[in-house]
Subunit: 506 residues, 2 copies
């Protein structure tokens, strides 16, 4: 291993350790340990950043004269170093302080449903993120600089027309659905004991190919996936005993993330290409959006399909015979695909979810661009919920205060959820085209062909390619919403008996 | 916080993180994660050592001009730095390599019960530990230098007469016991479901005052206690469904260690006085022996006492009514205090345990001193087991290969188990003397007075004092086996109906 490789391995080790500390804090740690843990995390993050910004590391990266993959790794390291160097130390310090303060204030404000309480911190957070955007640099809109932190290369210029097409499609589709009768969902709210939910969830994750000799499933308040190299990729879910789909689809979602991380090529372990260097995370995927494309693909495209439940519903019924006594596969499939406008993003169905995301993205872009003042934010939020979803927001807790993201300073991360949906359908379309037998294998419950295709085409590469490069290599084109729109129209058209004229590919 | 405090805090954070990684590896990690974890541990250990040996840290320690406690902390840092600097880098490297290799070879040799397989590694390990002793320096015997790593200030000169007195007491007592009829122990081997064992174990730990808002109980192959500051002190035990005492007393033992760590004064968190700097561990106790004194005190002195079971046996019987149907408190108390020579140290009773330890100590001292060759070790071992315990060693697996310590390079750690026993009785005698009502409180199941006395006198100080200083402050004298001998004679005299002439205090 050369000097660049050794130093990169050390940095990746530290990032993996940060992940271990975070996993433990969220799944195992007794309450009393939290402040000591925060100090341990701060010390280790600072050390990782120090190693990354060590001039000797930059020199080692510049000295790399290896194959294409090593050159890409070195270039990513140099880009990350340059980006971090552009951020004034004072701004980093202020942001770190404000983040911990703002999250606390936000939690209190949400509990009291009082936006005014949080407004001063949010105002400052917008200001600091604007400064961050200026420091990082951009060509078009300042929001581009922040987007780039989560989805390298994504710009407002690409995003806006994409979102416009989605909105033009989603809103009429939602209206049409709302005119149709709603399916039964009462049985989803029967009593489902957590222990049984856990057994089923884990069994389904393993069927997708989640390797538990390199992973484990635990419970946490908010489900997540986290990895400490491809050899140890853990997922969590949350068991609600009066709502079956939460843990079930939560597990399938995190399994999609986990398959990505477990599928990274072994040679990329402990390299820059298994690390998000600017973000100082140990993560193997190309971007937030690419990662999300895989969680959505496995959760929604596979896990909410009729073929999936044709195969697995009888098994589920065996485990929960009383709860699902008078339900058949079709009814279950309809129930877990119900579209119903709601106030809370994390509880939204596939279709309205994008509307929740687009609303946030357009508001945060306007905040960063200076076109919207923080004091006008709740009104803008509520107006949009009204026009998109036809709902009145009864209080800020169920409105503008519901997400942690802004208090955590994560401006620019929301778009990746919807970008992930779009990419998922592009990847799935490419897989179907290249493997005509794919749908047949899935109908038989054989998930290996799909997983291996995704591994060959996506997972194994870790962060070798930018999301745009990867998408172009695999699908032959950049971000393209058409396959996603076709999927949604087809699926809901059938489920709700709609007569939909398929939009033609542009 | 001054520069010394800041740097010490950072080092302590890293040591606590190493503990988190080790806890996870031993209780949660999927098998596939082990090699990546080993690299993470190696990277972080090297970083901690780098921080400790940074000349700026030494300068910061020299610049300390604070109160007595801070001065002691600075002195301990300087001593640790000096000790580590005396060890040649090449020796450190060789030892690290040999340790990982030797533990693997030892595991194979033990499985095959073939000492010859392990002999080359052990020979090299003895040689490197002799070099380590020379590098560290000593006045009397080279073994002193190694002893000092685990029990600062302890020497062969102190240890030998102490052990002689113990042997002169233990061997005749054992012979006398062996002439008496043995109690029933069959019911200890009934079927005890693990889940119930866990509930009981945790309840008993909490009765002693183990604070689960700052700790948790898990299962692991070998029970241990580990802390990441006083705010997060975790214990493990092992549940054998056909042997109740294992998990039960294992938990009480680890609880003793945990009470020590949870009782360290909050102000000592993240300081040198909550770290074993030369060993690079985050540990709050004065020494291995002092720590062991507390696990033994709570496990044996309290947990195996008649008063304890008078109070708790009825509860145990409620939980395991079938298994303990024809057993009464007296019978249970006798069963868990059975003395019976056995081949395996970790399964030994209180009395023969010391004989196991003394045998190892005398052999390892002779190995380091060059008076015993590795090839003659099995024979020396077997002869000693014969003369001390009256048993024939049927194979090396149940003889000289049973412990991991030598393959892990831990020469000098064995004495601390017996030193811990001796100290436990000294501390207990002092507590009884200073609190005449102590035995009454214990009879009523009130453990707070004892725990608070131990906290005030021992736990709160962390590593502020050397073991000798601490012992002298608390008991008025150095290591003194008399209270321990009195305890054992009294206890077994009563249990086995022996007529023992109490040895008078020297």
């Amino acid at each position: 291993m050369n000097d660049f490789g050794r130093r990169s391995a050390e940095i990746n080790d530290l990032l993996c350790i940060l992940n271990v500390l975070n996993w433990d804090a969220r799944t195992q740690m007794p309450a009393g340990g939290s402040s000591a843990r925060a100090q341990q995390l701060a010390t280790l993050s600072a050390l990782a950043q120090e190693k990354l910004l060590d001039p000797a590391y930059e020199a080692a990266a510049r000295a790399v004269d290896g194959d294409d993959v090593e050159t890409r790794a070195a270039q990513q390291a140099l880009d990350a170093i340059a980006a971090l160097r552009r951020i004034p130390a004072e701004l980093t310090r202020e942001l770190a302080l404000l983040k911990s303060e703002a999250q606390e204030v936000w939690a209190r404000a949400r509990a009291a449903s009082d936006f005014g309480l949080f407004a001063p911190q949010l105002t400052r957070m917008v200001e600091l993120n604007r400064q961050l955007a200026e420091a990082l640099g951009y060509e078009g809109h300042p929001y581009d600089a922040l987007l780039n932190l989560y989805e390298p290369g994504l710009t407002v210029e690409t995003l806006l027309p994409l979102f416009e097409r989605l909105r033009d499609h989603h809103v009429p589709l939602l209206r049409a659905i709302q005119e149709r009768p709603q399916p039964r969902t009462d049985f989803l709210h029967a009593h489902y004991p957590a222990a049984q939910q856990k057994r089923v969830s884990l069994a389904l994750a393993k069927q997708f190919g989640y390797d538990t000799s390199r992973g484990r499933l635990d419970e946490s308040a908010h489900p997540f996936e986290i990895s400490f190299t491809r050899q140890d990729v853990r997922i969590t879910t949350r068991f609600q005993e009066n709502f079956l789909p939460g843990a079930l689809f939560g597990t399938l979602h995190e399994t999609g993330h986990a398959l990505y991380e477990q599928g990274v090529r072994p040679e990329l372990s402990r390299t820059v290409l298994a690390s998000d260097l600017p973000g100082l995370y140990a993560v193997g995927g190309a971007s937030y959006g690419t990662h999300e494309s895989q969680s959505r693909l496995w959760e929604n495209r596979i896990g909410r399909s009729r073929a999936y439940w044709n195969l697995h519903f009888p098994h589920l019924q065996n485990i929960f015979p009383r709860q699902l006594a008078d339900v058949d596969t079709a009814a279950f499939h309809r129930a877990v695909n119900t579209v119903r406008p709601s106030l809370i993003r994390v509880e939204a169905d596939e279709l309205t979810y994008d509307l929740h995301i687009m609303l946030r993205v357009e508001l945060e872009r306007a905040l960063i661009g200076g076109e919207l003042a923080v004091k006008d934010l709740p009104e803008a939020w509520n107006a949009r919920i009204r026009s998109d979803l036809g709902l009145d927001v009864p209080d800020d807790a169920r409105g503008v205060l519901q997400d942690i993201h802004w208090s955590a300073g994560m401006f620019g991360s929301f778009p990746t959820y919807t970008v992930g949906n779009v990419m998922a359908s592009q990847f799935y379309a490419a897989a179907t085209e290249q493997m005509p037998e794919l749908e047949d294998t899935l109908r038989r419950g054989e998930y290996t062909p799909l997983r291996e295709w995704l591994t060959d085409n996506i997972y194994q590469h870790g962060r070798t390619y930018t999301p745009h490069e990867l998408l172009t290599r695999v699908t032959g084109r950049g971000l393209d919403p058409q396959p996603y729109l076709d999927y949604l129209s087809g699926k809901y058209g059938e489920l709700y008996g709609l007569d939909i004229q398929k939009e033609q590919t542009a």
